[in-house]
C-alpha cells in the first residue's frame, strides 16, 4: 500500500530515521556535559587561547591531528592520560579529528616550552628533519583584532577581563595558537598523577662502555634530544649538556621523569635501557662536547 502513497512512505521513512536518531543522538544530551561530567580545574579558554583555537580551526589543523587519547596501553604511554568527557565542555565544536597524519595533541599542553613551539611552527624540519608538517611561521605576521575576539568570548559566555583584551593588541596569531596548544589537556594534573616512581637501586647497565659503543647511540640522541639541546649538546631551547654536572642517577631521573615545570618532557616511554644509553652518551661521549 505504501508503495502507492508517497506521503505515507515519507512519514514512515521519517519515523524509521528518527528512532535511531533519538536513541543515539538526542537521548545522550541527558548524560553528557552534565554535573556528573564536570572536572574541577577545567576552565574556559582565555580570549587569547580561544583565538588560538579559532586559528587552529581556520588552518584545518584537525585534518592531520587528533585531540583525544584512547584508553589503550600504547596510546597512553605515547601521549599521556586518556581523555575524559569533562575536559571538553568548553569546546565548540569538538576537535577530536579522525586521522593522525601527525601525532595526537590532546596532552600537548605543558609538554614543551613556548620556545620549542615557536621554532617548530617556524621550521618544523629543524626539530623533525623528515616531517611533512608545513611551516606556519607566517602566523607571526598577523596581528590580533581585540574587538572581534571580545565579541567571540562574549558570545561563548567565557569570563574575561579588560586587561586580557587590551593585551591582545600586543600579540600576534602565533602567540595565540601557542597559548592554545599550551592549554591542551593541561587543566587536569595528569602529569603529576601519572608520574612513575623509580623503585630500587639505579645501576648503570652500560658502565664502562667504550667510545665506539657510545657513538652507536648517537641517533637516539639526535631523534630525541638534539632539537633542544643542540647537535653537539651545546644547548639551544634547552641548556647546554655538560656530563660532569650530574651523577648518573640524577641524569637518569631527569631524562626519565622530565622537568615539567621547565618544559623538559619525560622520556619514560623510551624505556630504561634507552634512557641509560642517553645517560652514558651525555656523561661519557668525548666527541660530543665532553
Amino acid at each position: 500500500m505504501w508503495e502507492k502513497k508517497p506521503i505515507l512512505l515519507m512519514l514512515m521513512a521519517t519515523a524509521a530515521i528518527l528512532v535511531g536518531t533519538i536513541v543515539t543522538m538526542v537521548l545522550p544530551f541527558v548524560w553528557v556535559n552534565t554535573e556528573a561530567d564536570r572536572i574541577e580545574g577545567v576552565t574556559p579558554y582565555t580570549p587569547l587561547e580561544q583565538e588560538g583555537r579559532d586559528i587552529y580551526m581556520r588552518e584545518g589543523c584537525n585534518n592531520c591531528h587528533t585531540q583525544t587519547v584512547r584508553p589503550l596501553v600504547a596510546e597512553v604511554v605515547r601521549y599521556g592520560d586518556y581523555s575524559k568527557s569533562g575536559e571538553f565542555v568548553y569546546d565548540r565544536p569538538f576537535l577530536w579529528g579522525s586521522k593522525r597524519t601527525g601525532p595526537d595533541l590532546a596532552r600537548l599542553g605543558g609538554k614543551y616550552p613556548d620556545a620549542w613551539h615557536f621554532q617548530h611552527m617556524e621550521n618544523p624540519s629543524s626539530i623533525y628533519p623528515k616531517t611533512n608538517m608545513p611551516a606556519y611561521g607566517w602566523l607571526s605576521n598577523n596581528a590580533l583584532k581585540p574587538d572581534k575576539i571580545r565579541r567571540k568570548v562574549e558570545v561563548l559566555g567565557f569570563p574575561f577581563t579588560e586587561e586580557q583584551i587590551a593585551e591582545l593588541a600586543t600579540k600576534n596569531e602565533m602567540d595565540a595558537i601557542i597559548a592554545y596548544m599550551q592549554k591542551l589537556g593541561n587543566d587536569i594534573p595528569w602529569r603529576q598523577t601519572a608520574r612513575t616512581e623509580i623503585v630500587g637501586e639505579l645501576r648503570n647497565p652500560f658502565a664502562g662502555a667504550d667510545q665506539t659503543t657510545l657513538a652507536a647511540w648517537k641517533p637516539l640522541y639526535q631523534s630525541n634530544c638534539s632539537a633542544c639541546h643542540g647537535a653537539n649538546m651545546e644547548g639551544g631551547i634547552g641548556p647546554e649538556l655538560v656530563g660532569e654536572y650530574y651523577d648518573e642517577e640524577t641524569l637518569f631521573r631527569l631524562i626519565y621523569d622530565g622537568i615539567p615545570e621547565l618544559g623538559m618532557p619525560a622520556y619514560a616511554n623510551l624505556g630504561t635501557e634507552r634512557v641509560w644509553q642517553l645517560v652514558n652518551l651525555i656523561k661519557y661521549d668525548q666527541a660530543m662536547g665532553n
Binding site: M25, V32, D54, R70, A74, S85, P134, R151, L156, N269
Partner: protein
C-alpha cells in the same frame, strides 16, 4: 497514450556541472596527496593541506556526488512518474543555486572560514544556501511524484524520498550554531555532544548522500541496461526499510574508545554489524538480477560499471562493519587505512554507478550514441586500477602504521617514536599519489568521451528511442 514531454536540458546542465566539480575534486585530491609527501608544496595562507583537504572532500561529495544525484533524480523522477518535472523554473533556479553554493564553498574554505566539522566545514551562510538548495530540489521531486501518472512507485523513488528527508534532518541539526560574524559561528553543541552529533551526521551523510541515491540509480540503471527486471521485489523492500532504520544508530562507530558514553558505542558497533544484511540484500539482488545475463559483462560496458560498482559496495559494507568492531578499531582507527576504505566507497561504488548513469543518459538527453565504447572501456580500467592502487596502498600503510604505533618493548616502552612511524608512510603516500593520477587520467578520458559524444556522436538507432518511449 502519447509520450510525455520530458525536460532534458536541465539534466544536461546538471551532468555537465557535476563533471566540472568532479574534476576539481579529483585534481585537488591529487594536489593534497603530493603535499603529504612534500611539505614545501604548501603555499600559505591559502594553498595549505589544512585548507585544501576540505575542498577536496566537499567538492567530491557535494559538487560531484550530489550534482550527479540531482541530474539522475531529475531524469529518473520524470520517467518513473511518467510526467514532466513539476516545475522547470524551480529546477533552473536549483541549478544556479547549486553552482553558486559549491563555488562559494570552495572560496570560503580557501579563505579559512571553516567549522572543521568533517563534510560540513562550510560556515553558516553557506549552510543556509545548502538548506535552500535542498528544499528547492525536494519540493520539485516530491511534487513530481505526487503528480505522477504511474500509480506504483518504483524502488528508486523510495530511496530518493528517504534521502530527501534524511539529508534535511541531518544537515540542519548538525549546522545549528550561533553566528558571531559574517563567516564565523560557534556550534550549539559542545565537546562530547558535539562529537556525537557530528558523527551521527557524518556517517549518515554517507548513508543518505552516498548510499541511498546510488542505490536508487543502481536499481534503475541495472534493469534498464540489461533489459531484465530486479530479481526480487520482496528483497528490495526488506533491504530498503532495514537500511534506513539501522543506519542512524551507527554514527558512534567513528568514536569508539573516545569519551562518548560506552553504551552509544556498543549500540553503534552492534548496528554496524547488522547493517551488513540490508547492504548485502541489495548486492545479492543485483547479482541475482544478472542470472542468465552474465554474458553482458563482456558485451555491454555499462554492465561492467554497474556490477563492479555494486561489488565495491559489497566490499565496502563488509569492511565498514569490521572497522566498527571495538578491537579492530583500536588497531586501525586514525591510520591511513581509513582513507583507503572511504575511497573504495567514493571512487569504487558511488562514482562507478554515477558514470554508468551518465553513459546511459548521454544518448537519451543528447540524442547521440556514445562516441567511443573503447574509450569507455579505457576509462573503466583506468579508474578501477587507479582506485585499487589508491586503496590497497593505504590499507597496507595503515596496518604498518598501526603495528608501529602499538609496538612495545619488553620493558613496556614504545619501540618507535611518532616520527619514525610517519617516515615509513612516505613510499605508500607516493604510491597513493600515483594511483590518484591514474584515476584522474581516467576521468579526463571520460570527459573527452562525453565531449566528443556531444560534438560528434552518431544519431542513435531508432530502436533506442522506442525503448525510451516505454520508460
Amino acid at each position: 497514450m502519447g509520450k510525455p514531454q520530458y525536460h532534458t536540458d536541465i539534466v544536461k546542465s546538471f551532468v555537465n556541472w557535476s563533471l566540472v566539480w568532479g574534476v576539481v575534486a579529483v585534481l585537488v585530491g591529487v594536489i593534497v596527496s603530493f603535499q603529504m609527501v612534500n611539505p614545501d608544496l604548501n603555499y600559505p595562507p591559502y594553498f595549505t593541506f589544512g585548507r585544501l583537504r576540505p575542498i577536496h572532500t566537499n567538492a567530491g561529495i557535494y559538487g560531484w556526488g550530489v550534482g550527479t544525484i540531482f541530474a539522475m533524480f531529475l531524469y529518473m523522477a520524470q520517467r518513473l512518474c511518467k510526467t514532466p518535472l513539476w516545475s522547470l523554473g524551480l529546477a533552473k533556479f536549483q541549478l544556479w543555486l547549486f553552482n553558486i553554493t559549491i563555488a562559494a564553498s570552495a572560496v570560503t574554505l580557501l579563505l579559512g572560514y571553516s567549522s572543521t566539522l568533517e563534510y560540513h566545514e562550510m560556515e553558516w551562510p553557506i549552510d543556509i544556501m545548502i538548506v535552500v538548495l535542498w528544499v528547492t530540489f525536494s519540493i520539485n521531486i516530491i511534487m513530481t511524484i505526487i503528480k505522477r501518472k504511474e500509480e506504483q512507485m518504483y524502488i528508486s523513488l523510495w530511496y530518493m524520498m528517504a534521502a530527501i528527508i534524511g539529508i534535511a534532518i541531518l544537515f540542519t541539526v548538525n549546522a545549528l550554531a550561533v553566528p558571531v560574524s559574517a563567516f564565523k559561528s560557534y556550534s550549539i553543541f559542545a565537546g562530547t555532544n558535539s562529537a556525537n552529533v557530528q558523527w551521527w551526521f557524518g556517517h549518515n551523510a554517507v548513508a543518505m548522500a552516498l548510499t541511498a541515491p546510488p542505490l536508487a540509480m543502481f536499481y534503475y540503471f541495472l534493469p534498464k541496461t540489461t533489459g531484465v527486471p530486479i530479481y526480487s521485489h520482496r528483497l528490495s523492500i526488506i533491504s530498503f526499510w532495514s537500511l534506513i532504520f539501522m543506519y542512524l544508530w551507527t554514527g558512534a562507530h567513528h568514536l569508539l574508545w573516545t569519551p562518548v558514553p560506552d553504551w552509544i558505542q556498543t549500540l553503534a558497533m552492534a548496528f554496524s554489524i547488522m547493517l551488513i544484511a540490508p547492504s548485502w540484500g541489495s548486492v545479492i539482488n543485483g547479482y541475482l538480477s544478472m542470472k542468465g545475463q552474465w554474458h553482458q559483462m563482456r558485451d555491454n560496458y555499462l554492465v561492467k560499471f554497474l556490477i563492479l560498482g555494486i561489488t565495491f559496495y559489497g566490499l565496502q559494507t563488509l569492511q565498514g562493519p569490521m572497522q566498527a568492531i571495538r578491537s579492530f578499531s583500536a588497531f586501525i582507527h586514525y591510520t591511513d587505512w581509513v582513507p583507503g576504505h572511504i575511497h573504495m566507497g567514493t571512487m569504487g561504488w558511488v562514482s562507478l554507478v554515477s558514470v554508468a548513469g551518465i553513459y546511459f543518459l548521454l544518448p537519451r538527453i543528447y540524442g547521440r550514441e556514445v562516441y567511443s565504447i573503447p574509450l569507455a572501456n579505457l576509462h573503466f580500467w583506468l579508474v578501477v586500477i587507479g582506485q585499487l592502487i589508491w586503496s590497497t596502498s593505504m590499507w597496507i600503510a595503515g596496518v604498518l602504521q598501526a603495528g608501529m604505533w602499538n609496538a612495545m618493548n619488553a620493558d613496556g616502552s614504545l619501540t618507535y617514536t611518532f616520527t619514525e612511524t610517519m617516515v615509513e608512510m612516505y613510499p605508500y603516500w607516493w604510491i597513493r599519489a600515483i594511483g590518484g593520477i591514474i584515476y584522474l587520467i581516467g576521468i579526463l578520458v571520460f570527459i573527452y568521451n562525453v565531449y566528443m559524444t556531444v560534438q560528434k556522436g552518431k544519431e542513435p538507432a531508432p530502436k533506442l528511442l522506442e525503448v525510451e518511449g516505454r520508460a
